[in-house]
């Protein structure tokens, strides 16, 4: 088995692991981590597509590589937004949970009541 | 020679993995931060060895980037408020 196929298999496993984390973990921060695992798993599968497209003296197809680079940056921006939302939720309610009926604490230093 | 370099890269990754098993589990968050530090150094070492063995181009820059960012996780750790350290179950004077 080539190293590319191996990395592709790892990518497939990462997507499965991350999907499980997104579904089964109740905490938002861990959902963000799991979501990033899915993303990097997809990137790895993309990586094997790039590697199998080796031609013209290049050891990997540059087009999927460029898309993965773009993807990593966009994934970071999405994570930063998600983290900011989670922290804001924590500031407002004193808890970080996605349950809609979770109890809210009276607004302290947050700014809802202004 | 390149097989030797690859084997040493594997050996370092293996020892790092064993170390990770120990310190990712804690007991405190400080131990966990050491895991990030350990994989940084071990990762750079195996990166350099793999690069020397396979002759891949531009890997030096990757190692340089990792080296520059090696302490960032620890910096974020101390920077984000007071780190709550669980008391170590085995204090030093138990020895």
């Amino acid at each position: 088995m080539s190293s590319a196929t191996l990395a592709g298999l790892v990518g497939a496993a990462l997507v499965g692991l991350g999907l499980y984390g997104v579904i089964a973990d109740p905490q938002p921060l861990r959902k963000i981590l799991a979501f990033n695992l899915i993303g990097s798993g997809v990137f790895l599968v993309f990586g094997i597509v790039a590697r199998k497209g080796a031609a013209a003296g290049l050891s990997a197809d540059p087009v999927p590589q460029a898309m993965v680079i773009t993807g990593i940056v966009v994934a970071f921006a999405a994570s930063a937004l998600a983290v900011a939302l989670t922290l804001r939720l924590f500031e407002e309610t004193g808890r970080a949970t996605l349950r809609p009926d979770a109890g809210t604490k009276p607004p302290g230093d947050g700014a809802v009541a202004e | 020679m390149s097989d030797f370099l690859l084997a040493t890269a594997g050996a370092i990754l293996f020892t790092v993995a064993v170390g990770l098993v120990r310190i990712l589990g804690g007991p405190g968050d400080a131990d966990r931060m050491m895991a990030a530090q350990l994989i940084g150094t071990g990762g750079i070492a195996s990166l350099l060895l793999i690069a020397a063995a396979t002759g891949a181009r531009g890997v030096d820059d990757v190692a340089l980037g990792l080296a520059i960012l090696a302490a960032f996780a620890s910096a974020a750790f101390v920077n984000s408020g007071a780190p709550a350290e669980e008391p170590d179950p085995n204090p030093a004077d138990d020895r």
Binding site: I23, L29, L33, G47, A56, I69, I72, L81 | A36
Partner: protein
Amino acid sequence: MSVLQALDVGLALLVFAVAAWTVFAPGPFAATVGYVVYGLLLSLVWIRLFAVDVALTEAAIGSGVTGVLLIGAAARLRGAETTPAEEALTGLTRLFAAGLCLLVAAALAAVVLLLPDQGPTLAPQSMERLPETGLGNPVTAVLIAFRSFDTMLEKVVLVLGVVGVWSLAADRYWGGAPGEARAERPEPTLAFFAQMLAPIGILVGVHVFWVGADEPGGAFQGGAILAAMWMIVMMARLTEAPQASAFWLRLALIAGPAVFLAAGVAGAVVAGGFFAYPPGLAKPLILFIETFMTFTIAVTLPMLVAGPPRREPRR
């Protein structure tokens, strides 16, 4: 099995194990550190896939900058993470979810195994047209020339990300600076480290950007290293984060996509196509655009990590 194959298998197992730790770790902080370790290991995997540009991006953004973001968030959320038991899924639902995920992973694995040995590729076309751009690194050529519209829009996504993060600020902090004003003195070790590292890091960041034309590297990677230098200087409290309302900051945030878009529109007038570069001028133009993009990335990433404004604006 050769030594290299054995190494690949070991690396794959390690990546999988650390990823599993990230999902199943006992606490959120442990999971977050696991994710930082995982990001670092991924850049080793990308080296083995001969994608050095991606490895560099993963090392700088996937591991370094994301690590600061997530560890900071995990430390701040420490009080919040005792999740009530009723939020956890029941055993049966968990089993069902696990089965579903296993199915997805198995399907993807099957696709990976069924891929033909020589897949469709755009590598020959890229190499054929590479001389017209004057660049030596085909990945940079794809990013800035062949698929430049993608890259420009991706910069817009970054700006939108900052807008999104800023709009989470409380009303009275609107337009203020991110990060709490703290009375405590800065950690002296960290200040020393930042003073030592920042000049070297800035040099390396510019180097990575500059060699990106011909060798692995480029605007993203160089910009991310420069961004990290600004972050470490702010973490060491050697400088304060700028106010969100600062005019220069807003200009810096849009400089990259604005210059890129202007060059694209100019291409439609001068070179006969949206985002076409006039022959002969391609390389200087690409470097010009990339300089602004590097700058914008170096300003955007720290603002995304710093979060929404948390201080009342000064007038």
